[in-house]
Subunit: 404 residues, 2 copies
């Protein structure tokens, strides 16, 4: 693809107007929206209102003027992006805390089923939290196996199949309907981590008959750094599962200040502590953009951006580890390279922000709301220059930061 080709595609892109909804820094091509989505232009005014008017002027009165409803209200806005009902999603804490809640709850449903099956190489917090969660249920164990062994690991001892829909390194995507059916055939529930899926690919939890899901607010939903996460419980399980993090905000009547815990009905029981209002305000601004987005065009453009980047990678002789079939992947592209870390740092120094995943993955997020084809072509040119000149081998680029 030539720069002229790219400009022509951008000129006819029906999503082009959404780029103006984000405050992208000058001189940067941002290919890391799958790690931290950029700043929506509406976020700063929304936060100013939350801080100066709601907090500063209205003070505690704001709890009755929208704050207390925020976890449910924003959950309902996320629901259509993941194929769930408005009364099946709530926003709470972090993806990790939400995983803990749901894994423990699922393990307690049927004492004869004691195993959580998951994938080796799953995003670490999923496995780490599953370790912690099985430690909270007597007899429970975590069975993490390679992807090709997941099917045979399911059995009549399986309580829960815990899968991340889109893999954070490779972008490989599980067939949600097929794996949900396999879990159900084994008598198990399934819990989908949608952190790299919500806002990235079509998700139809209810179409697949999925039981439980969690996901992150700060990637494709553009909710800001460390944004609150979401949690989904299929209606059929809502009165059967209990939140082990049984804090006052999940109580049926928190302001009666009862000594004993009585869970609220519906999704409210999954709340624990006081909702993080400033984080929720930023998340809502990010999620609200999606209500205007023609989702099918997003998925189509993601595929086209991928093809453009994959062609550059092929041309440069890079090993692409992401599936070529758009139905089998998420919305990022990853290459394996022995100097992936240094390449990533050298690209950042040249204004192309992707990211590195240990030990050898160079990863680029393809986010159709604010990326154009010309961005991909320009990023490809920088990558070509680095590879051809070898300038990424400068020792400055191999010094590891705390976070990449």
């Amino acid at each position: 693809m030539t720069p002229d080709d790219a400009r022509a595609l951008d000129a006819s892109d029906p999503l082009r107007g959404f780029r103006d909804r984000f405050a992208l820094p000058e001189g940067v091509i941002y290919l890391d929206g799958n790690s931290l989505g950029p700043l929506p232009r509406t976020s700063s005014p929304a936060l100013s209102d939350a801080i100066e008017r709601q907090w500063g002027q209205r003070l505690i009165r704001s709890w009755n003027e929208g704050w207390i409803e925020a976890p449910r209200r924003i959950g309902a806005k996320i629901a259509p992006l993941i194929g769930a009902g408005a009364d099946e999603v709530i926003v709470a804490d972090s993806t990790s805390a939400n995983l803990f809640r749901l894994i423990v709850a699922a393990l307690r449903l049927d004492p004869s089923r004691t195993t959580v099956v998951s994938e080796l190489g799953n995003f670490p917090t999923d496995l780490h939290i599953a370790e912690g969660a099985v430690g909270c249920v007597p007899g429970a164990t975590l069975k993490a196996v390679p992807r090709e062994s997941i099917g045979e690991a399911l059995g009549n001892d399986t309580a829960l199949l815990l899968l991340t829909h889109v893999h954070y390194k490779t972008a490989e995507r599980f067939d949600m309907a097929a794996w949900t059916a396999r879990a159900h055939a084994a008598g198990a529930l399934v819990l989908w981590d949608l952190s790299h899926s919500a806002g990235a690919v079509p998700v139809d939890l209810n179409g697949a008959g999925a039981d439980l899901a969690v996901g992150c607010g700060y990637k494709y939903l553009n909710g800001g750094p460390g944004a609150p996460a979401f949690l989904h419980v299929n209606r059929k399980w809502q009165e059967k599962l209990a939140n082990p993090l049984s804090g006052w905000m999940g109580h049926a009547a928190p302001f009666l200040f009862e000594d004993g815990y009585r869970p609220a009905s519906g999704m409210t029981r999954w709340l624990t502590g006081t909702p993080p209002i400033l984080g929720l305000a930023a998340l809502e601004a990010g999620v609200d953009i999606w209500s205007d987005v023609p989702a099918d065009q997003v998925w189509a453009k993601s595929a086209a951006l991928f093809d453009a980047f994959a062609a550059i990678g092929d041309d440069l002789g890079l090993e692409c580890v992401s599936p070529r079939d758009p139905a089998r992947r998420g919305s990022h592209i990853s290459f394996r390279h022995p100097q992936a870390y240094a390449l990533c740092q050298a690209l950042i120094a040249r204004g192309v922000i992707g990211d590195f995943r240990d030990p050898d993955i160079l990863r680029f997020g393809l986010t159709p709301l604010y990326l154009g084809f010309e961005d991909i072509v320009h990023a490809g040119e920088k990558l070509r220059d680095l590879l051809e000149t070898g300038s990424y081998l400068d020792p400055a680029f191999s010094k590891r930061n705390a976070v990449t």
Copy 2:
């Protein structure tokens, strides 16, 4: 106290300058800083920087430019307010989630000790979370007893004494050193909830030899609605206790993306998910004010504000349920009244914001950084007017809101 007396006291108040650090609404006397602290003037600029520069311009690079350190950095700033070492405090999630972490961890320390002792009428989330936590440790139980029976409830089966230092309704304060010693004499650990203490009264965790503590960021620390909470672990327990919410941010090397969980050393292991950066930025602005505050003058002024309000209550024939001895209470004053809810609403309608606690408590926060004696006198005048005219009996004031 006459208005002239009050003005004279305010004029000579060495803390008077701190009032200008807060953006208080016009025409409001805010006596609810013990529920939600008001907006520091530095919070809005701090959030603007976090949003527009750190998130908007620096994007993921900000993780290496201060974000990843924020939970430890802010914890170290809270430490002097609670008598802890800078390496004994971290900021994470909510008070409720932090209670869960520490209760489960304490129960796992010695399998022969299976009981959590706490107080009936403790703040509800403490008991609710304790219920959830004992459900995660085989054989564990919660023994919640009236205050006068706590001593006899401690025994050789006690793993943990869970107390809230200052009671949310009455402001009664436990003697931290004495109760820590009693717990230790029984061979148990003690966990102090400092939500109504940090920034309200002198706290000396290490002086008392306390083991564990949690507390809230949105009351006297002025961290904003739903601010992240803090968590303290005495140095002697740091390598012996494990976080059941074992998420990736508590891992020894989160960016090596290992399948197995290895806890970080020190306080970092108590982290779980990605830190809530916007909430942390607001909390830090609130906490930073305290580094300039002469704490002894705060405690002294709190006592004087209490005496002024208590005298008004006596004069009005109100039943004060808070201890008169400042060493035995926190920094709020509570009255029992059968129409406490309506009185609270009627006061709010007249610009005096206190709060109601079910079923019959009218509560006023006494926060020396931004309240003066004239505020107390004016609030007392409004209260007198309501009681004398009976105008709070208007049915409009008895209609319950979701939150009070």
